[in-house]
């Protein structure tokens, strides 16, 4: 069968074999020992035509409930935000998406400059001195922050707040296992890191204290109070921050964070069932040479023209091998480009406006829930999520909401025993007043019905 990606003709094949001086393609594989040679073809599904395959896969995609058809109140680390349409048009330019790492700067200035701009935007939002070119995601970026801190302080203990995303904490633990680093969780008080407990826990073995800002419950941690406790013990202060929130919240850099990491998914990157998203990694000047992954720097050519190159590569695996600061090679460059375009589209004013909208709409949701008699689990400042006590099964509530065209919130009981029957509700700028009102009405009706049936 002929194939549209394979330009080889039988004449080409004949000519090329003759040039090589062999009779058949098989001869080129004669170095594979008979005993391990695979005979025949893989037992996999047969090839499909373009039309047939798109039809099949469109049907498969149609089995999933997406946040275009359903109003989503689910966040917990991944959000349905405004995605400027221009983003997809930029990242669809194949000069970007069919290129690899810009190892040849003369023909990669586009990618290099785009990354340099990304580094600048992340540094601006986080209030940090510098940012790298991206990491896999927020979770692995946090884990790498832990590795950096342990190396820098030569200490072997990480304190991670219980209000850090549960899956990110899991990833930190896995990385720490490899490096024989101890990970201890800091307990919570009213949905935030327990500052008194932390004071007791930090010691001379603590490499870093990790908190999330806003935290997993949408609560805004008090970085100002946390910072002196962390630095007082000689540990590095690591903040995992939602960069979109930083349009309105004081950036971690202002509060003295040494490392700020997170995921830029909220900026123009689709939810995509959890990936690919876009981790970022920002640090103070002091830690510049300890950063994992690629960094783009500005320089000039011999005629004085400005240009951009991968720099400080002596940190990286392809140069330092087993002494590298990290093993990361491929990163999330295309998604960093997507985030850059979204941050550019929003711009100086839009970045603030979108963040304020999230706070405002979530506050509205909170008020409406309170009016209906629901108990909000935690007091205090929040960003775009709140934890609400449902009392009955969150899973059943979500099934009821789904019937009404809504994707309900995250069942906090799955990760926190003490929060059984609590739902984490996200309200982004995408949710209209009408949708919020309908949502409150539905959960109110559901809870009343459940209570009635138990009465």
């Amino acid at each position: 069968m002929k194939h549209r990606y394979l330009p080889m003709t039988s004449q080409d094949e004949k000519d090329m074999l003759e040039t090589i001086g062999v009779q058949s393609i098989d001869e080129l594989f004669s170095d594979i020992p008979e005993k391990v040679r695979f005979k025949g073809e893989y037992n996999i599904k047969p090839a499909k035509s373009e039309s047939a395959l798109t039809k099949e896969l469109a049907q498969l995609a149609g089995k999933n409930a997406d946040s275009v058809r359903y109003a989503s109140f689910l966040g917990a680390g991944v959000y349905d935000h405004y995605k400027p349409i221009v983003v997809d048009h930029v990242i669809s330019r194949s000069e970007f998406y069919t290129a690899y790492t810009p190892y040849q700067p003369e023909i990669s200035q586009g990618e290099l400059q785009a990354i340099f701009e990304f580094q600048t935007m992340i540094a601006e939002l986080t209030g940090m001195d510098i940012a790298n070119s991206s990491m896999y995601d927020g979770g692995t970026a946090l884990a790498e922050a832990g590795m950096l801190a342990a190396g820098q302080t030569r200490r072997k203990k990480i304190l991670v707040s219980g209000a850090v995303h549960p899956e990110s904490r899991d990833v930190v633990r896995t990385y720490a296992l490899g490096q024989s680093i101890e990970v201890v969780e800091v307990p919570l008080k009213d949905g935030r890191t327990d500052i008194d407990a932390l004071k007791e826990m930090v010691d001379e073995n603590t490499a870093t204290v990790m908190v999330q800002y806003p935290n997993f419950f949408g609560q805004v941690e008090n970085l100002k109070e946390l910072e002196p406790i962390v630095h007082g013990a000689g540990a590095l202060f690591t903040v995992s921050a939602n960069p979109l929130a930083l349009g309105a919240l004081t950036p971690p850099g202002k509060f003295g964070a040494d490392i700020t990491v997170g995921d830029a998914q909220p900026f123009g990157i689709p939810e995509a069932f959890g990936g690919p998203h876009c981790g970022y990694f920002a640090v103070t000047q002091k830690l510049m040479r300890k950063v994992p992954g690629r960094l783009v720097g500005e320089t000039t050519d011999d005629e004085g023209r400005r240009g951009f190159v991968l720099t400080l590569q002596a940190r990286e695996q392809h140069i330092r091998r087993d002494k590298a600061t990290s093993n990361i090679c491929s990163n999330q460059a295309l998604n960093a480009l997507a985030a850059s375009v979204a941050m550019t589209a929003l711009g100086k004013e839009g970045a603030k406006e979108i963040a304020v909208q999230n706070i405002t709409k979530t506050h509205y949701m909170k008020q409406q829930l309170k009016k209906s008699g629901f108990e909000i689990a935690f007091d205090g400042a929040h960003f775009n999520e709140i934890a609400v006590k449902i009392g009955s099964s969150v899973k059943e509530l979500n099934a009821a909401l789904f019937e009404k065209g809504m994707i309900g919130g995250y069942d906090l009981g799955l990760s926190y025993d003490e929060l059984q029957g609590h739902m984490l509700i996200a309200v982004t700028e995408q949710r209209s007043k009408e949708e919020i009102d309908a949502f409150v009405q539905e959960i109110d009706a559901f809870v009343r019905e459940t209570e009635a049936s138990h009465a």
């Binding site: 080889m8 393609i25 970007f96 810009p102 340099f116 601006e124 069932f273 050519d301």
Partner: protein, 490 residues
């Protein structure tokens, strides 16, 4: 091409311009200070650009023109498998039912996505000959580390804590030793022999009861098949170690030899290489890991299982190494890889490998008279030339690589693997036509002639790019890693 700078997007800013259209705020406004407290309210704006939508499109279009991708021209970057990125993949990954679904939705609402993941796993099991596959790792290096962590867990579960060493060949990718370090191992290097293959005697010398694993690429980074693979497997297994397959070069052996049949215990694949998830300017990738049965308990959790009621994620995995990534991997890249595999089918994947190897051998034979060929035998999907003949004439491989830019090509991988002097690692892939290969070969031959007759033109290359060679020393000595808005006094 223009030799003018493209301004930074920040330099195009004009106060008051916007490029967005947010939903209207249809709920009452709030007082942020009252709600958050003074300390938490950001005082100064983040200095993001202020530009219109057309400004954005023009800026990034201009940048894209200063970038070379596979769609721009030939890209024989060895070990990176820069093959054509099919457009159907891009369309399918953008279907709303794949792009706009949340990883924590109720499983009943994402059965289509889970079915795709499951079927991709099944396909990868058959392709690699392994017993189980996880899609969680985000990229090749991430997969390497995941695999090594599983090997570590396996040994420790057997009460075997003395296995502190991972062996890698001197020709290995840099990620291999780096991943070993991150997984808490010490790296031991095994030498290559005069044929470019792992030296079995040296391997026997370095293995022992402290060996956790041997990491191997097959074919290796010289593009040569490790013929003694079964003996190597036996040497490692005899001392109780595990054999790790770096799948970076799988494009060379599809339907010809499976890692599982060669004796490998763990394998990672780079779906952005062999299976056409695009390289994206450096990522995102996807690095699934396959294992033999005895390592299944240690797979990252959750694992995806099929039940009578449908697909579900199983978190009850007490021996798992834990999570290596939030959620389930780079799903969007996995969708592309799945689309590719289903497009090619079994006969297509077989031809992929056959033509990739035919193309590489053809180029190698035609270029061999003009450059040094350190290992003269059939190669697989790529081959390595040495520029030492040209170096004697005062022209380095770097110069020849830069000269290729003038012909509109992305150069090969250079100075790698480390065991070849002035190395040039060329990987044509199967999606390139004979005409493209011939044109590139002609350019290489011309450059070899220029080295002899007019070396300056090579030494001073490139001549036609938007920028000349850049001062990398300056970039590293005084790093400027971000734009700073000029202050008023400047």
């Amino acid at each position: 091409m223009h030799k003018d700078n493209q301004p930074l997007i920040f330099e195009m800013t004009k106060q008051g311009r916007v490029g967005y259209s947010l939903p209207e705020l249809d709920v009452p406004e709030v007082d942020l200070t009252e709600l958050l407290g003074q300390d938490l309210v950001r005082e100064e704006f983040a200095e993001l650009p202020e530009v219109s939508e057309l400004d954005i499109m023009r800026h990034y279009t201009a940048l894209s023109k200063r970038n070379h991708g596979v769609d721009s021209g030939f890209y024989p970057l060895g070990s990176c498998t820069m093959k054509y990125n099919p457009k159907i993949n891009e369309s399918v990954a953008r279907y709303s039912g794949f792009a706009n679904i949340h990883p924590l939705q109720e499983e009943s609402t994402v059965q289509g996505a889970m079915e795709l993941m499951y079927d991709l796993q099944e396909h990868l099991k058959e392709i690699t000959g392994m017993d189980e596959v996880t899609l969680q790792p985000a990229a090749g290096a991430h997969g390497e580390w995941t695999g090594l962590m599983m090997i570590r867990a396996f040994h420790e579960a057997n009460g075997d804590f003395k296995r502190t060493k991972v062996i890698v060949p001197d020709s290995a990718h840099g990620t291999n030793p780096a991943s070993a370090t991150v997984a808490g191992f010490e790296t031991v290097t095994v030498k290559s022999n005069e044929h470019g293959l792992v030296d079995l005697e040296d391997l026997k010398r370095v293995v022992g009861d402290d060996t956790a694993a041997l990491m191997l690429t097959n074919p290796n980074t010289l593009g040569l098949f490790e013929e003694d693979i079964l003996e190597m497997a036996s040497i490692i297994h005899k001392v109780g170690g595990k054999l790790y397959y770096d799948g970076a070069n799988l494009n060379a052996v599809m339907s010809k030899a499976r890692p599982g049949d060669m004796g490998f215990d763990v394998v990672h694949l780079n779906l952005h290489k062999t299976f056409t998830g695009p390289h994206g300017g450096g990522g995102p990738g996807s690095g699934p890991v396959g294992v033999q049965a005895d390592l299944i308990p240690y797979l990252p959790k959750p694992i995806l299982i099929k039940t009578d009621e449908g697909f579900t994620f199983d978190y009850n995995r007490p021996e798992s190494i834990g999570r290596v990534k939030p959620f389930y991997g780079n799903f969007g890249i996995n969708v592309r890889a799945y689309t590719y595999i289903r497009t090619m089918g079994p006969d297509g994947l077989k031809k992929v490998t056959e033509y990739a190897v035919l193309n590489a051998n053809y180029m190698m034979r035609r270029l061999a008279p003009h450059f040094d060929l350190p290992y003269d035998r059939h190669c697989k999907h790529e081959f390595v030339l040495s520029g030492r003949r040209q170096k004697k004439l005062g022209v380095r491989t770097l110069d020849m690589a830069k000269r290729l830019l003038d012909f509109g090509y992305h150069p090969p991988t250079i100075y790698f693997p480390l065991n070849v002097e002035e190395g040039m690692m060329i990987e044509p892939t199967e999606t390139e036509s004979k005409e493209t290969l011939d044109d590139f070969i002609d350019a290489m031959i011309q450059i070899a002639r220029e080295v002899e007759e007019n070396p300056e033109i090579v030494q001073n290359a490139p001549h036609t790019t938007v920028i000349n060679r850049l001062d990398e020393t300056k970039a590293a000595r005084k790093p400027v890693l971000r734009y700073q808005k000029p202050t008023d006094s400047e």
